[in-house]
Symmetry: D3
Subunit: 238 residues, 6 copies
Amino acid sequence: MRPDQRSPSDLRKVSIETGVMPYAEGSALISMGDTRVLCAASIEERVPPFMKGSGKGWVTAEYAMLPRSTLTRKERDARKGRIDGRAQEIQRLVGRSLRAAVDMALLGERMITVDCDVLQADGGTRTAAITGGYVALALAIGRLVESAVVSGNPLIREVAAVSVGLISGEVLLDLCYREDSVADTDLNCVATSDGNFIEIQGTAEGAPFTRGQLEEMLDMANAGIATLNSLQKAAIAR
Amino acid sequence: MRPDQRSPSDLRKVSIETGVMPYAEGSALISMGDTRVLCAASIEERVPPFMKGSGKGWVTAEYAMLPRSTLTRKERDARKGRIDGRAQEIQRLVGRSLRAAVDMALLGERMITVDCDVLQADGGTRTAAITGGYVALALAIGRLVESAVVSGNPLIREVAAVSVGLISGEVLLDLCYREDSVADTDLNCVATSDGNFIEIQGTAEGAPFTRGQLEEMLDMANAGIATLNSLQKAAIAR
Amino acid sequence: MRPDQRSPSDLRKVSIETGVMPYAEGSALISMGDTRVLCAASIEERVPPFMKGSGKGWVTAEYAMLPRSTLTRKERDARKGRIDGRAQEIQRLVGRSLRAAVDMALLGERMITVDCDVLQADGGTRTAAITGGYVALALAIGRLVESAVVSGNPLIREVAAVSVGLISGEVLLDLCYREDSVADTDLNCVATSDGNFIEIQGTAEGAPFTRGQLEEMLDMANAGIATLNSLQKAAIAR
Amino acid sequence: MRPDQRSPSDLRKVSIETGVMPYAEGSALISMGDTRVLCAASIEERVPPFMKGSGKGWVTAEYAMLPRSTLTRKERDARKGRIDGRAQEIQRLVGRSLRAAVDMALLGERMITVDCDVLQADGGTRTAAITGGYVALALAIGRLVESAVVSGNPLIREVAAVSVGLISGEVLLDLCYREDSVADTDLNCVATSDGNFIEIQGTAEGAPFTRGQLEEMLDMANAGIATLNSLQKAAIAR
Amino acid sequence: MRPDQRSPSDLRKVSIETGVMPYAEGSALISMGDTRVLCAASIEERVPPFMKGSGKGWVTAEYAMLPRSTLTRKERDARKGRIDGRAQEIQRLVGRSLRAAVDMALLGERMITVDCDVLQADGGTRTAAITGGYVALALAIGRLVESAVVSGNPLIREVAAVSVGLISGEVLLDLCYREDSVADTDLNCVATSDGNFIEIQGTAEGAPFTRGQLEEMLDMANAGIATLNSLQKAAIAR
Amino acid sequence: MRPDQRSPSDLRKVSIETGVMPYAEGSALISMGDTRVLCAASIEERVPPFMKGSGKGWVTAEYAMLPRSTLTRKERDARKGRIDGRAQEIQRLVGRSLRAAVDMALLGERMITVDCDVLQADGGTRTAAITGGYVALALAIGRLVESAVVSGNPLIREVAAVSVGLISGEVLLDLCYREDSVADTDLNCVATSDGNFIEIQGTAEGAPFTRGQLEEMLDMANAGIATLNSLQKAAIAR
């Protein structure tokens, strides 16, 4: 039995609240169970140096945890003078995933930064950041479309993410921290609403996983992502 | 007329919600108008090196702004590899102010860190951080008292803070950003419920301020702090 | 036709030379086509703070590129004062992959650091680092076994890695840089000699990839890894 | 009785020597008792990025302590790779205070940096830095006026600073370190020659201070500042 | 007797292999006994800010040790966030020495960076870096001459370097690490093929050295440099 | 003719004032013409980690320039977050030179740090730092001897330093900045009172220097050092 009585293929309780960062061009607070991530999309009329003059835009993400998002206090990166390796890895993943949703030529030479700040961390913060970050991004792009700053809609694809895990041979959807910490395999899956993949990252923490187990995990992830996609649409529509 | 139709001696609409960071020993989300600061108090069974063996505890604070708490996006300190000067100055002020509320011998050799993360910045974030941070601190200390980890109540004093400003010769309480940016003088006042001062910081942005103007500002600050004190008490009692 | 006339399922020319860093406990220079990575395994009789007293060992990896391993010169991380995000992500992947090969209880409280320094970068440096790093690691552990410092062989699993890509709908094994830069999907696969997975990371650079394409890529990766495994064994045996 | 036999309202022995840094556009070595601060004002024909094109100038300050200005050696900030929080707070205060003395439009698009390096620290280094820094600044601006680089005199106000403290209920002017370390309240006051305030910072180290005590401290500070002002004038005139 | 049976005036076995970093404009792997340094010269069509508009070029060097070039593993500078003092001192020496070989006006406004990465360190890495770095530099400049990018040959002088030491009163050429660690005096000598000096650095590790000993060391160094010069020429000619 | 009418073998006007940093165990302000360096020796009852348990002491030096010690303002290292390469090179030289004056076994497990802060830089700051730093060091050690903390006098050798240069073929002693900036060769010489060498560093800025020129420069340096030695003795004796 899972700690919160879910069945293996159940997501945790998901809510997506929009407009929570009023100064941002788009924002969303996503909760998946006790995991809460605040996502804010900022549009700037500039691109990174390597994109200048390309006529194309850029989407990037930053990820950080509030010091007390965790059970015991975690020191701030700013105090250590550098972003820790795990946060760098996650923000690169979030950035790549969200870029897949956008046509950079239609976006034009502007940059959208999606800040994902974890308020509470109970497992699955990186996938929550992608799912919530997409909503913030979509709202920000919506503003560009409404104000006719762009000639067509740069948002070309719906993107959501979920984790799947393998515990004692059983495949479980959307692990909470207690599950995550004992899982043999952890698979993060970023996909579109039609079931195609943008990124998959599967890691064996203990014994390697078999091809069969991988197939089972991917099936369950795709089902979870379909549900998340409809919740994203509803949140954006509100 | 003030931008939000307040009279000169009115505080903005204040709300203090507790328990918002469930993993923290004490937490509070304070809103003063559109300024919102998330405060979390963490107790750790250690003290900084310079306090080791003293038998006394320590209280410290950290202050940061989410990148999109401001009208235009602000780069993260972690990315620049250092905490900016203004944030350092503010977190030192918050720490000093909250230490005044605590008897360090009664606290014993443990450390309380109060993290103040600005979700939205519309002026007065440092005073809101002190007022909200006090609530988080009081709740965390309450836990120590309840569980009888400490022999007496280390919380010895109520502390709140407010800003006052001088615009075109008029004294105004609790400036919002639009007011703050044109104020001739800005005074931040940290005081106890009985009207004594823990810290005052007054800065002339343009012309110097007179002794008479200072007196007027202090009067108004004391009144505002009395109101904030009763709101703190109500929040802690809930 | 591929730039070097290979068929889609061909690896590049692979060579693994051992003993190239005479001071290291184990070392290997792996070449996969024009990609060359120098791998050195160092044994130290200490563990990171979080492992102290656990009775278990630790394996970690560091990854860096020589400034002129690339077509145009790349600034050193030391000069910038921080390790870049991509290098951090890669060294975390290499570390996780190599830890899967080792029984930490049998290793005992000692640490093995595998340094992977890229001499020449023509695509696939992270998978080459894992495949070559495994050889360096195995040689270092072999010394521990020979000198009976450990009570049993901590090396429990053979690990190798390869990349697979999707270009214009065709699946290709072991991409060189020219192929990698135009690939629609890039999949890095770390697996054991019996075909089970330690880590898979698949990223759509353009259009998302389908489940069918993923299956095809995994088949081809497994075949490549089997070949690499026999080359690793031969190198270690020499 | 005070450690050096002064009466409560006495300043320490003050001396201000000018021209001590011959390469600087203006310089002063200020001694207040055993506290000695070397102040050098540098004019540069550029402004910070946020002032470019404004037609206005900028005045800023930097504050540092020589490693052996203190009783026990203090590590250099450069070695730690960052400016410590206290130094940041002080140099921001010095900068704000000196900017109050200057009409930035008359200064034109140029920057004056006032470096305050503490040779010996026996309490009151920040107020000495302001009082001495003003002399260095005035001399540098005098050069601009003499050489007719500016169309009018940008120096519009005389600025000096002093500390006042409260020990066992008694108000004392210009605390030395031995007094400062036991003071219940420490008030730093920056004011003009006509008794108006540029900045006041009062901090209760122990019990909060009353409104009455604050009034008494401000009176004494104003008297001290008047004396310092005449010493500044004499030094500049020499 | 020396550890490797050499006579006092013998160099270790020297080899210089060119073209080892195929992407670099010039490269050389120099071995002096067990010391091995990989040198790569990179030409960039830019100069540092302080040279802009001068019409002249610039030559600079960077020096680093692979973590396992030493008997026990050495932490990477990038991990510490700064280049260590010894490496800075060495790369400044290598840069100055190589600049002496080049006419900057003939080079024109372009920069050559010579990266010296130590693969194995058995004493004398800085002198090996100069001798090998010169070969890489000469090859890179050779390309500029061949392609007629420059109007005349900017290479105006042959430069090589060697160490000499004093052990128990005896002068020894080209110390290996075992000798270096017990030497009373260590002299690094950079000279041209005709015996004139570009840089000499002599350091007494224990007792000061006499003028007579210095003369003897310089004689032996000059002889060693003549041999190295002919090996450099042969390598470049190949 | 030299800018200040000296003959080629004249030192600039030298003065050494002691006791200028009253909190330091030893201190000296050395002036050589317009070059002024403040030297402070601090004794601490600890040694660096690599010396712990050795029974021996350690001497180290730090070197920095005040921002306005130079003709145009130089940014502080602390602001850049790292010590610049030149300063590192110099402080390593000063440290090595001063260590030659001390018997580390007699010093015992304690550390002396000699801080050399340049107040005014007109050429020859590194040699002035050594000559003045020796005086500060000798005074600090004198205190240890007087208070019988050490069993014998750890000061075993007198150390001073001077620069010599070659301009248009003429050898000149103790270059000022105007001379230094046009010198063909710059030789820094650290020696004992009996004419033996602790360190020599000669650098050709333009054409290489000949053996004959080197001999001439060494002769002149030795004469200058003898004079400096007697000035050091007189200063220490005062």
